[in-house]
Symmetry: C2
Subunit: 203 residues, 2 copies
């Protein structure tokens, strides 16, 4: 039987609750893990190599791009951030379901490069509730909040390009929903067609 | 939000445990129901119209075929059996998930006619176990048993044409797996894309 883990793209606007949901998912099953991005940014004091990021040089990053090993990458403030395909594949071959928490542009790159990736978009129940959640964080000015909401609207419009849309109305329910999707996807016939040979094997 | 129920095609060889699994599914959720076939066969004494079958005349059956209202049909021993599309759609529009327990040829017809049907194939863990199950029923001669196993092998080879393959190793687990698939499928973005308008609606 095919025990290769899934590659799971998880997106959603800021304030949709992705991090909380991820925390609950990891508690449900220790074979579900988060992909660690590679970056050319300098390591900060409290950061740990291989836990927060894989800190690599610009040359190494470039080599990975040229080798076609970057499932997705982007540049922010002159630093590169990306996801190594060989790293993800190694984990999947070890039976881990690897989650990429990623924004919509990166997700698009991964969908194009990895045909068997499973994509899930988390939406808030409404823009009104998202606004309340962001407001309650109290970390942004009104202008920043409006910019963030504009961005959220744009992102939510991309949700239809994902395989699944999950509403985060209740965090437990949302984590449960995503776990259900992961379990169901493992029974997709194209993922487990080899099982037919096993069943039909005469002993 | 779209509350239209799913159309679920359920197939699997004789002895795979479809009926037991269905019984458990219906207990889990009373919005999951079985489609009732139409037939031109005479009603038997203990049969109930609308429960066992919809008993209709050959003319009525023919009209349904001509109207394109038969999702699938077949003829056995000069009697027609089939599934009315309008009947299924009415139930789905009332929010029911409708299960068609059907063999592989009928399933193929439904898949072709109903693009949003969800298809699940139940396999036994192995041909050896299937043989034991059928043998333990004690209802067939050795020759009949071999014929049934040959048919099972043919059917199992069709499993890859279904969306999902579920192994019936343990009946509770198998019913749980199918229930998970049904719940997950309700979050497929193409089924619920209207939700995006709801989320984005400014109030």
């Amino acid at each position: 039987m095919n025990n290769k883990g899934l590659l799971i793209i998880l997106s959603g606007p800021s304030g949709a609750g992705k991090d909380t949901i991820l925390g609950r998912l990891f508690l449900k099953n220790d074979k579900i893990i988060k992909s660690i991005s590679a970056t050319t940014r300098k390591k900060r004091d409290k950061e740990i190599e291989g836990k927060d990021y894989h800190f690599i040089s610009k040359d190494e990053f470039n080599d990975k791009i040229l080798d076609g090993d970057m499932l997705e990458y982007a540049c922010y403030c002159e630093n590169y951030y990306g996801t190594s395909k060989s790293e993800v594949e190694k984990l999947r071959n070890d039976g881990y379901d690897v989650i990429l928490k990623i924004e919509v542009e990166g997700a698009k790159q991964v969908m194009n490069k990895c045909g068997d990736a499973l994509s899930i978009f988390i939406v808030p129940p409404s823009i009104k509730i998202l606004k309340e959640r962001l407001f309650n964080r109290g970390t942004e000015s009104e202008k920043e909040l409006e910019l963030r909401l504009d961005r959220a609207r744009e992102e939510i419009n991309c949700a239809v390009n994902y395989d699944y849309i999950v509403v985060n109305d209740d965090q437990d329910k949302c984590a449960e929903d995503i776990y259900e999707i992961i379990c169901a996807e493992k029974m997709r016939s194209y993922r487990i067609k080899n099982i037919i040979n096993e069943v039909l094997k005469e002993c």
